[in-house]
């Protein structure tokens, strides 16, 4: 009998696929790898992207999809991803237009990063029981 997916596994699958698709399409919008205090970026509708930002999205997406296969891997990804995006959100709010002089961002990016972080940490917390305790039919 197939086991239910944990919240972390659903998080990894959905965000992994979305980030991978957005990263690939992002290269058709802006593939530049500029650096500095104001790296070049183009709007992917609401969100600012450039080559570095696209690479981060693709790598994150592939990692999410790979780790979605097991509850433990998915939970680790949800925690790590949530923490990283929490830091990125705070950094983005302070720095304003870029992260580490590489990734161009704007206000909508910050909202998205905050929601991704919150969802990741919530998925990690909500999957605690399902990973630590063996399941019964």
């Amino acid at each position: 009998m197939r086991q239910d997916s944990t919240p972390a596994q659903l998080y990894c699958t959905v965000f992994g696929a979305v980030l991978l698709l957005v990263g690939i399409v992002g290269f058709f919008v802006n593939a530049s790898f500029g650096t500095g205090s104001n790296p070049p970026g183009d709007k992917l509708i609401l969100f600012e992207v450039n080559g570095w930002h696209n690479l981060v999205h693709i790598a994150s997406g592939l990692a999410g999809l790979a780790l979605a296969r097991t509850p433990a891997g998915a939970r680790a990804f949800a925690l790590g991803f949530g923490l990283i995006y929490a830091v990125v959100t705070v950094y983005g709010l302070i720095a304003g237009s870029n992260v580490l002089g590489l990734v161009a961002i704007n206000g909508a990016d910050n909202v998205l990063h905050l929601l991704i972080a919150a969802a990741g940490l919530a998925a990690y917390a909500a999957s605690r029981d399902t990973v630590s305790a063996p399941r019964t039919a």
Partner: protein, 165 residues
Amino acid sequence: MSVAAALGAGAPAPLRARSEPALLLASLAWSAGTVHAVAAVVHLEEWLLAAVFFAIVAVAQFAIGAWLWARPEPRALLFAGASSAALAVLWAVSRTVGLPFGPEHGHAEGVGVLDLVATGDQVLILAAVAALCIGSAHVVLHPILIRAALIAGMTGALLAGGHAH
């Protein structure tokens, strides 16, 4: 007499708490809430009241999602279905005859991908609750269907989002 009884259907069958169907249903509410959170930011400079409304809707949908996942009892399902239906009707009015108030009162707003995604999520919630009333929840709350809807909705919102007025 309840609406469900009037339609000849029973109350929605409760789902198992923290099960995959409950998680999928909750995810639809969280997805709609995410779109409304972004909409609140987008509306900040053009109509503050709308921004506040969208922020309240976003918070409510995050809370409803948590309720559906932790305790998917009939009361939670009916509340989720009714609120989703109300928001879908409000959206339909704003896109056809226009709202009777606000900066564009009486004028139909354009349809954007972001609002289509949120409305799609809400229609799926309503369909799932209706399916639970007639014992066919597995049709709507199918793991692949909901995953595909969430991925398509979020990707569409990011790639073709934007707000049409």
